[in-house]
Structure formats: structure tokens, C-alpha cells
Symmetry: C2
Subunit: 265 residues, 2 copies
């Protein structure tokens, strides 16, 4: 079953488009969890227990798992999220060529969807795009300051690079499995992109305290009701100073974000 169909079902089941980023920074997880063999897994398990009813997906970022114990923690986390019925989107921003990108794409045997980087072009993403069951979110317009260094450059056709990336991603969407990563910092960009590619669901990171951004993220991020708005630290570290009570604070934060976003759905 196509990822976006599964995501559609999941969004309806939990009445939520919240993506919860599992970025278990070892310097920030509660002290008492460091007694476990795999502290990141111990942390994620408690976060998943506390928040899964509000999660459309869990989104671990690969950067936080790049060591032997990290990959073990990631594997446990993915299996546990699946046990709770929640799809997993690995935020890895991968791309490479030929044989190498096929290696990267093996992760789709484990996770449901992945983020990828378009700079190396179509063949660098082909093994991801070819997987009809997987979701592939192509970086398009990112919300960081450096996002403009390349993405905003004007092409001789008059369009910025990121709009061309959206057009390419639309071309690459032969299996109805492609989405875009679009930051929420500029609502007008979200709106323009939604017009340009009406069928591609967006993953919108960078939701801050501003209500306007959340509104734009929902209004323009969803395609036929399907899309994701991510919060990572705002949820998982909501109870950073609460010791063993940290997970309850995460639950409240996830629920609050869900409600805030649902106002605009």
C-alpha cells in the first residue's frame, strides 16, 4: 500500500498531522536514562509511549544515531513505533550515485519514508523513487538562513532554484510517492509551491511560536488532507527539566500542537 495512503489513514485515525522528530541528543536526555545500555532507545521508547496517540509519524533524524549503539537504538525505535502502528519517516537527507545510493535505499526495508537531497539529480534518488511503498520527501525550500544560498538563486527562466526542484520532484513522482520538504518561515513560498504542485504532500519543519506559520503550514502543506508538520525538540524536550516526568510534558506538548494545527485543517 502506497505510503501516502497509509499516511492518510493514520492521519484520520489519530486526527493529527503532527510529525514528532526523534532527535535524542545524548546531552539533553534525562540523567536517569544514561544507566541503560542504549539510552537513546530508552528515551525514545518513553516518548513513543507518551505521544503516539498524537503522532501521524515519528521522524528520527539519522544524525543522532551515527555510531554502533546509535544504529541499534534506531532499529529498536523503528520496530517499537511500528508496534504502536505509527509509520516512521527517517530524516536522512540522503543522495548518492549508482551502487552507493542503492545501499542507502536499503533502509526502506525498515522505515516507511525518507528525506532526500536533490543536488545530485534523479539517478541519485532513483532507488528511493522506485520503491512504490515508500515515501520520498525531496528537500525543496529549507527554513534555515543558508537555505537562500542556493535555493533562492534566480534561474535564467526567472524562477528560483527551489521552484525548479519542485517541478523536478513532480516529474519524478511516477509512483505517487514523492513529497517536498518546505520550511514554514515564509508562508507566501508555501502558498506558491502549493499552487505549483497541487498533488505533492509537504513535510513542514520549523514551526515556531508564531500562529501564522502553523496556519500556513497546514493550509498549504496538505495535499488532499495529507501532509506533515514537524516538531522535534519542542515536543521531546518539553519536559527537559522534569526528570522522570519528562514524558508527560512531551505528551502535553504533542497534544497541544495537534490541537493548534487542527484549528486550520
Amino acid at each position: 500500500m502506497n505510503f501516502f495512503d497509509r499516511l492518510h489513514d493514520r492521519i484520520r485515525t489519530v486526527d493529527s498531522v503532527v510529525s514528532i522528530g526523534l532527535d535524542p541528543d545524548l546531552d539533553r536526555i534525562p540523567d536517569h536514562l544514561h544507566e541503560y545500555d542504549l539510552p537513546r532507545w530508552a528515551f525514545n521508547r518513553r516518548i513513543i509511549d507518551a505521544t503516539h496517540e498524537h503522532a501521524a509519524v515519528f521522524k528520527p533524524n539519522a544524525a543522532f544515531y551515527e555510531d554502533p549503539d546509535g544504529w541499534a537504538a534506531l532499529e529498536e525505535t523503528v520496530a517499537y513505533a511500528h508496534g504502536k502502528g505509527v509509520p516512521v519517516l527517517l530524516d536522512a537527507k540522503r543522495a548518492d550515485i549508482g551502487n552507493t545510493t542503492r545501499q542507502y535505499a536499503r533502509i526502506l526495508e525498515t522505515v516507511d519514508a525518507i528525506t532526500v537531497n536533490p543536488y545530485m539529480g534523479r539517478d541519485s534518488l532513483q532507488p528511493f523513487l522506485a520503491d512504490e511503498e515508500a515515501g520520498v520527501f525531496v528537500l525543496c525550500r529549507t527554513s534555515n538562513p543558508g537555505g537562500e544560498d542556493l535555493q533562492d538563486l534566480e534561474l535564467e527562466t526567472g524562477e528560483p532554484v527551489y521552484e525548479r526542484v519542485a517541478a523536478l520532484a513532480d516529474l519524478w513522482n511516477e509512483n505517487d510517492n514523492v513529497g517536498l520538504v518546505v520550511g514554514a518561515t515564509k508562508p507566501e513560498e508555501l502558498e506558491d509551491l502549493r499552487e505549483q504542485v497541487p498533488d505533492l504532500p509537504f513535510l513542514v519543519p520549523g514551526i515556531g511560536a508564531q500562529g501564522g506559520d502553523a496556519e500556513a503550514a497546514v493550509e498549504y502543506g496538505l495535499a488532499d488532507g495529507v501532509g506533515l508538520v514537524n516538531s522535534s525538540r519542542g515536543i521531546i524536550f518539553a519536559g527537559e527539566d522534569r526528570g522522570e516526568e519528562f514524558a508527560k510534558a512531551s505528551e502535553r506538548a504533542a497534544k497541544r500542537l495537534k490541537k493548534r494545527l487542527n484549528r486550520y485543517r
Copy 2:
């Protein structure tokens, strides 16, 4: 000591600009090595033993190590290469934002240099660029067919995107630690880029059977004699059908490539 100074010394010591890609595809390493706990490490150790005298660097690609055993194999490999005096360049093509890219950059405590992807702009690479001891190779013009999808797009200024990336990388080179990844498939592109950024060493992948490409890779890839020309499968799987004798074939392949490249240095 600056990475490119270390690389300069290494190139002089072994009289070689060969980068040996350590991509230990589990489907291709010799059968008898699968008996070891960490077959990829067993394979790499033998390749390093056989080829290190011809290696300016070893270049493991992160895609081949993305599981718990893989990361353990990678750690052993890096330590062993260092024991032989060879710098290690991790081909990871990383980039992310803020807290996340700082996590990725922790790998520079272990390896000497890394490849990064420019699509997310300067701040997505900042923790790499800020490490004065590390080498940072920015993807510029890649040799795969899809390289043209974005990299060749013409900007309103008349230059292609990849030339702007080269200009940006030159700006980002405040610590004399930036290089470019430039494929060897179009010698005229190598030549133009060398003129544009005379001080940035190139990492040139994609050396095939064609002598012309090797000549261009050396002639334009080096800056003040410093640069790298990579071969992965052409060296490490040169003895794929030789069973336990595989490493000797790799040694010959590495030596042959070194000699071929040295003709043009």
C-alpha cells in the same frame, strides 16, 4: 595541522594522489570473509594492508556502514588506516541544520575529512567548515547523469549552478580547509573550475578506463600539487574472482592507477 598540509605531506611520502574508496559491498566481498564477526572490517583490513603504500587517503563511503555492525566495522577501519599513517576521508555527503549538523560533524573527531552537500547552504555546513583541522569537500559537479538536473541549470547571471557553488565554496574557505568534488567526465568543466578557484583542491571521482579523463583529473584536479583522484570498485574488487588472493590484485590495481596518474603530475 591543516588537513591539506597533512595531505600534501602524505602525497609526497607515497608519491600518490590516489584516493582508495572503501565501499565493502557485502554482496561482493570474498566468501571466506563472511566467517568473521565483522566481514567488512576483515575485508577493509586486508585491503589497507595491501594498498596503503599507494594511498593518499582511504575514502570509506558511509552508505556501506549504516547498521550497528557497519559502524563498528567503520570505526575499526578508520583506526587501522590511521595506524598505517593514512588520512581518512569519509564520503558522507552530509548537510543539515543547526543542532543536527553539529551532530553529524562529531564524526570529524574520528575522520580527517568529509564530503558535504551544498543544497542547504552555509549554515548547514558551518560545523564542518569551522573545524580548522578537517578537510571539507563540497559537492560541486558530479559525474552521474542526474548531475545536470540541477547543477547545470543556467542562472540569470549566465553561470551554471555548479559554478556558483564553486564560488560559494571559495567564500566559505576561511580556514583553508575547503575542496570541491568534481567529476572527471567532462575535462573542460574541470579546466574551467580550476581557473575559477585556483586554490581549492578537488576530489575527482569517476575515473574510468579513458586515459584522457585521468590526465584532466590530475592536470586540473590538483591545487599546488594537492588533490585526490578516487577509485573504489576498480581497486577493492580488482580481485573479486580470486578468492583469498583478492588483496594482491587490489595492490596491483592501486599501484597501476598511481603510476598512470603520476605520468601527468
